[in-house]
């Protein structure tokens, strides 16, 4: 294994700017690592080797020419989930229905990455249209967990989390609608942040559930996650839900101070009820104790309505998805079923052949929930529950500054274990979903292992208080060794 691929993004950037490592050397090291481990992990749908080399060469020339303003991610290979559009590079969303689609435009986060000097190294595998918790629902192939190749990496950003965990990229972007960054980060033993809704532009993120989706960073350590976040966060006039104050949340500089004195950490009792794996519980409780030992004031709080969050989510998210996925009709781009005999037939065949079972399931649920006569009973009721969940969090945040919970109820499960039981699969996101309903920021970081599998600690903050999450997570990371472990992957 090349030592280069184990370096943090921040360090790679420093070495590149100092002229100690060329971008080309960095890219070659990562491409070589991809060549070694990708046959086992299968994290990527597309590896952009040629583009990455070309960009590395340009960065090297620019550095030699004047070396200024190359950016905080200059020379850093980044993997991007394949539901984030990239100009000239196929974007599939893990779906057959987008076969042949090469976007003529970049997502805002891609422009921002490029402005910061990052090198796109590939597009990562995902559950089709970000629907799933295991990356088994990909329209192409499942990705495997680098810690145990018989297990799932989590989902739907499983490709991004596995790519980081397997050192196939320095950092990665995922998207999180109900836990799709944090849950795979927990399963793969890396750091993942779901930012405040509105902190990162959704322009160019292929929509799953628009009111819940958010792009966020996945990294080996908190500092890298904060660095990547500082690059992608900010107001974007092309996204009307982009927060005007989004620019200020990006302020976090990791320092040597690990004291958490004055930070009030809330432990919601509802997150430690039935369904929580004992090993996960022990690891998370120990982690919370450790936060106390760093000076944080730990107290129990209650979020009485979160038990309904999952149900509300599985009405709202499919409802929005059914609408967002209507555009895949075979008319303008992507897959069109051949041999249709009429317009309706073309729509039906295209969507029948192009979408996988989980996507169809959710389109049907969402269509039903929005249909005349059922709207009040489902969609409207779910939105009311959502409001109650938001209020629960508001009340909790009147008492505490951060909430600490398990990220997932269990460690990574086996491939195929839950594919026949969608409801069991949905429970994998039970702790992450309430956060999306409330639009809050939340971060998952490694806090231990059960049977050799990583366990994630979830820290939830107030709107736009990502800096506090980074501070708490960084203090935890600096005073423990959980984050330093690497998967036992042959390389």
């Amino acid at each position: 294994m090349s030592a280069t691929t184990r370096l943090s993004a921040a360090r790679l950037n420093r070495l590149f700017l100092a002229g100690e490592l060329s971008a080309t050397e960095i890219v070659d090291a990562f491409l070589s690592r991809i060549g070694q481990v990708e046959p086992q992990v299968r994290a990527f749908i597309t590896v952009t080797a040629a583009e990455a080399r070309e960009r590395a060469q340009r960065l090297d020339s620019r550095r030699k020419a004047d070396g200024r303003d190359l950016g905080p991610l200059a020379g850093v290979p980044v993997a991007v989930k394949d539901n984030i559009v990239t100009q000239g590079i196929p974007t599939t969303c893990g779906s057959r229905i987008l076969e042949g689609f090469v976007p003529p435009y970049d997502a805002t986060v891609i422009s921002r990455l490029q402005g910061a000097g990052a090198i796109l190294i590939g597009k990562t595998n995902m559950d089709e249209f970000a629907m799933g918790s295991s990356t088994e629902n990909s329209g192409f192939f499942p990705t495997r967990n680098p810690w145990d190749l018989e297990r799932v990496p989590g989902g739907s950003s499983g490709g991004s989390a596995a790519a980081v965990a397997a050192d196939e990229c320095a950092v990665a972007l995922g998207s999180d609608t109900g836990g799709s960054i944090r849950q795979p980060a927990a399963f793969c033993g890396v750091v993942g942040l779901k930012p405040t809704y509105g902190a990162v532009s959704r322009f160019g993120l292929v929509a799953f559930a628009s009111s819940l989706d958010q792009i966020g960073p996945i990294a080996h350590d908190v500092a890298d996650a904060a660095l990547l976040f500082s690059v992608i966060a900010g107001h974007d006039r092309r996204d009307s839900t982009s927060a005007p104050n989004a620019d200020r949340v990006a302020q976090f500089q990791p320092g040597p101070d690990t004291s958490l004195a004055g930070v009030r950490v809330g432990v919601p009792r509802e997150f430690f009820a039935a369904g929580l794996d004992d090993g996960v519980r022990r690891a998370v409780e120990a982690a919370i104790q450790h936060l106390g030992s760093l000076g944080a004031e730990v107290r129990e709080v209650s979020l009485p309505h979160v038990e309904y969050a999952l149900d509300a989510y599985y009405v709202i998210a499919p409802a929005e998805a059914s609408s967002n996925l209507a555009r895949y009709d075979g008319v303008r781009y992507g897959y069109r079923s051949p041999g249709a005999e009429s317009l309706l037939d073309m729509y039906l065949r295209t969507r029948r052949d192009g979408f996988g079972p989980e996507v169809k399931r959710r389109i049907m649920i969402g269509t039903y929930a929005l249909s005349a006569g059922y709207y009040d009973a489902y969609y409207k009721k779910a939105q009311q529950v959502r409001t109650l969940v938001v209020r629960d969090f508001q009340q909790a945040f009147a008492e505490v500054d951060v909430l600490a919970t398990p990220t997932t109820p269990t460690p990574a499960f086996r491939i195929g274990e839950k594919t026949d039981d969608p409801l069991a699969m949905y429970l994998a996101d039970v702790y992450t979903i309430p956060v999306n309903l409330a639009g809050l920021p939340a971060l998952s970081l490694p806090c231990g292992r059960v049977d050799g599998l990583p366990v994630g600690l979830q820290l939830i903050g107030r709107h736009f208080e990502e800096p506090l999450l980074f501070r708490v997570a960084h203090a935890f990371e600096k005073t423990t060794t959980h984050g330093q472990a690497r998967p036992p992957l042959d390389g």
Binding site: I84, T91, Y105, A207, L343
Partner: protein, 497 residues
Amino acid sequence: MHTAAQELEFETVVGLEVHVELGTRSKIFCGCSTAPGAEPNTQTCPVCLGYPGVLPVLNEQALAYAIRAALALNCEIARFSKFDRKQYFYPDLPKGYQISQYDQPLAHSGWVEIEVGGETRRIGIVRVHLEEDAGKLLHAGGVVDSGASYVDFNRCGVPLIEIVSAPDIRSPEEARAYLEKLRAIMIYTGVSEARLEMGQMRADVNISVRPVGSTAFGTRTELKNLSSFRAVMRGIEYEARRQWEVIRAGGEVVQETRHFDEERGITLSLRGKEEAHDYRYFPEPDLPPVVLTDEQIEKIRAGLPELPDARKARYVTEYGLSAYDAGLIVRDKAVADFFEESVRQYAKGPAGAKTLANWVINELQRILADRGLELGQTPLTPAHLVGMLKLIDEGTISGKIGKEVFEAMVETGQEAAAIVKERGLVQVTDEAELAAIARQVIEANPKVVEDWRKGKAAAAQFLVGQVMKATRGRANPQLAGRLVRAALAEVTGVTNE
């Protein structure tokens, strides 16, 4: 079987849903041009094509125009409104949904006044909301048998307002007057050119019938997408009659959407209530709600121009025009502007304004209607009309010649004086010349002279007409009359008063 309905008169009840394209330079949610007449699919981008990942951003000008139009329709503007998604599959609807407004529209509770048969009626406006237009399908061959269909997405995302009337309209004539009033208001406020032939204004018509005196509504049917005043009137006429005949025959009107076949002049069932679309509306998560302050609304209200009704009232009080004449002038903003500028240039106060009003109504509007032209499509300016009136006032030409000159000005854009000179239309005022013509006319009409001799004064009028004819209308009519009478007295020795 006889039913009570057979013996009764029926009443038609109509409500209109009118779509008006707003005249913004760019589309409602992206920066693409809205200029009409471009090659298909040249005014599109990933946003209006609904490509994956793109998001709508509301065009502030479209919002301002919509508020302006709604204020001109006497509506209340909502301080909080929101966008919703209206879902249906169609190849010209790229996202699979239209961004529209559903339960919280931009404006509501307005009205406009119309005048039909000398009676003024107030038609309620239930709501005005903002939405995006869809694209257009072009079929190679017929709709049914075409081998291929093409989609033009240029119109996708053009901003529309939908104006929903209360069911206050009672006849095809009222429907027409209402649509004309809406069109005038859109043009006066400058939010749309509202050209029907270009699809910038289109109407869905809800029609029901009931016995006169009944206050309950009958079952209604809807005629979709009518794009001319004539089609709206004929559609209502036919559909009301059809419904009443169904009822008279003891049947029941079925609630359904119908298509008006313009060629055959009949309506045909499109889809019934059972097949009605379920649009599955829900709040558009990609757009924040529209929140307006009193200041924003008042600023737009303060910028409203004088509207047709106000202008009409002013013409009555300021120029002494009849309400009817004033109404005829103001219904076309371009004509009303022309009229006012003419009044200013003519500078003869209310008397001059009345003269001008007659010319505008009797000549200008007649010529435009005959030729199917808009004022802006002619070279005519107020200076033309005023220049010609001055020639009449000076006695250079008669009023009758004036009409000929006026028509020539509309056609050629030449000044009145130039036309008069070129065509030799100067009034004949030479007494000797006219007296000679009068004598020739008397000689040629002995029977009429005999009538005069018997005391029939009107006989002279005929002979004056002959003089005018002989001079191709150029004779000064007063002078011709005096000379004819003098010559008759001379020839017959009889003087008739």
